[in-house]
């Protein structure tokens, strides 16, 4: 599993970082950043899916 954030769509709700703080962080504007480059470890995949389903802007893209 890989994850990315569509920059133009993210408006900094930070709900991804709340759901999966190991996977998502924040830049100085409060917009989401992805902390893990490459594959998301198995133990964080459920959290990552949860983060995606908590984003009000639908700005998170997961590719399996």
């Amino acid at each position: 599993m890989r994850v990315s954030v569509i920059d133009d769509a993210c408006h900094g709700h930070q709900m991804c970082a709340i759901a999966a703080p190991e996977v998502f962080g924040s830049d100085e504007m409060g917009n989401a950043t992805v902390l893990i480059s490459g594959d998301i470890p198995a133990e964080l995949q459920a959290k990552t899916r949860r983060a995606e389903s908590n984003c009000p802007e639908r700005a998170i893209v997961i590719t399996d």
Partner: protein, 402 residues
């Protein structure tokens, strides 16, 4: 003066956001409108407005900032003469801004409210909550709204702005007049005058006595494209911080306290499993989203079959969107570990609440601190809770015993 209120004939064509039952509990009305064949209601009251109630519609309008502008954001029309005279151009950027100015207005304040930046307010907020609890803990009873929730955001914002905490009751009175008792246009005018005069004096004082590590000073010295930002912008941002940062968060904290007082099972769930706190806060924000903003239609448009005209007001009922069963399973139920929660308590799109990270922190710390020290408490009288509504929804009197 006792106002004679014309009874609502039909919610779909005559809703009244200041009708006492609607103020207390707007959710049955939102639901009735949403499940009718006409989920965007219309009223001619208060110079007319539209009220979308489905999640999809509210979000679509929030995203379409070119059609649905932020020229007016209150759920009522401006007071006569607003926008005229000296400092008439002071607004509340970036909430009142549209692109292209919105972009720099927002970029200048977002770093102040990033998760990293607001973390420094956690300990101070906790100390403040503890001090408020110290005042009531031996009494066995307290007003969770007026003795607790009401004092938290105003003191946090005053600290952030670097203005005197002793003026708390003035700030609270201004904010209530500006955002809460907004049917009273004279009151809004009075609040605006006081807020502008107050911040003008704060700016003048900083010119005389320069300060370091001070929000307003940094704002005054900010340059955009080689030029120092105009005074109107500085006053506008200060206005925003005070007006948007106080009543809103206080309402959210109050509603959460009201909820917790009635739900021992949720108190226990959080005690037994503290890992639930992050999702619990999001769920409570979904359930008790305090804020309804407005938009002004830019040009005539038919939206979901509604003939909207240029200049029409559209009420962005985020609380209604957050209870839409098309988006949330069992929307009227608090599920602390809700899995899918794309709530829009802080709005959607380019106007996402700039202070959301701070508001979240305050709500969490206020609840955690209270529950640590007063784990068991209940409402004194369920029928004796009073509410503010319209633009901001939350309890104003909420007696609890413990």
């Amino acid at each position: 003066m006792t106002e004679v209120r014309k009874p609502v004939q039909d919610l779909l064509t005559d809703y009244d956001i200041f009708e006492p039952e609607f103020v207390k509990d707007p959710y049955p009305s939102f639901s009735e409108i949403r499940e009718s064949g006409c989920p965007i209601a219309r009223t001619e009251r208060y110079e007319g407005s539209w009220l979308p109630t489905r999640y999809e519609d509210v979000v679509a309008i929030a995203q379409e900032y070119e059609t649905f502008t932020s020229r007016g954001i209150l759920v009522v029309p401006p007071f006569p003469g607003q926008g005229e005279g000296a400092y008439g151009g002071v607004t509340a950027p970036p909430i009142t801004s549209d692109p292209p100015d919105h972009h720099w207005h927002r970029r200048l304040i977002l770093p102040v409210f990033s998760p990293q930046s607001v973390a420094k307010f956690e300990q101070g907020t906790r100390d403040l909550c503890n001090a408020l609890i110290d005042e009531v803990i031996d009494k066995g009873t307290a007003d969770a709204a007026a003795d607790y929730a009401q004092h938290i955001p105003v003191r946090v914002i005053a600290t952030l702005l670097g203005v005197p905490l002793e003026m708390e009751s003035d700030f609270t009175a201004w904010v209530r007049a500006a955002l809460e008792n907004i049917m009273d246009a004279e009151g809004r005018k009075w609040a605006r005058k006081n807020i502008i005069e107050f911040f003008l004096a704060q700016v003048a004082d900083r010119k005389q006595n320069p300060r370091e590590d001070d929000f307003i000073t940094e704002l005054m010295n900010t340059e955009v494209e080689g030029k120092v930002v105009p005074l109107e912008y500085v006053l506008g941002v200060c206005n925003l911080m005070l007006v948007a940062g106080v009543d809103t968060t206080w309402s959210a904290i109050g509603s959460c306290m009201w909820h917790m007082a009635q739900h021992p099972e949720h108190r226990k769930q959080l005690r037994d499993n503290p890992d639930l706190w992050p999702s619990a806060i999001e769920e409570l924000l979904r359930m008790y989203a305090p804020v309804t903003m407005a938009r002004i239609v830019d040009h005539d448009i038919e939206f979901q079959g509604c003939p909207m005209k240029a200049g029409d007001r559209v009420l962005m009922a985020f609380p209604a969107a957050n209870r839409d069963p098309r988006q949330f399973e069992n929307p009227d139920e608090v599920i602390l570990d809700r899995e899918h929660n794309r709530h829009v308590a802080f709005g959607s799109g380019i106007h996402r609440c700039a202070g959301s990270n701070l508001a979240r922190l305050e709500v969490r710390v206020a609840l955690q601190t209270w529950l640590e020290r007063i784990p068991e408490f209940e409402l004194v009288d369920k029928t004796d809770v009073t509410w503010a509504g319209g633009q901001v929804h939350g309890p104003r009197k909420c007696l609890v015993s413990f």
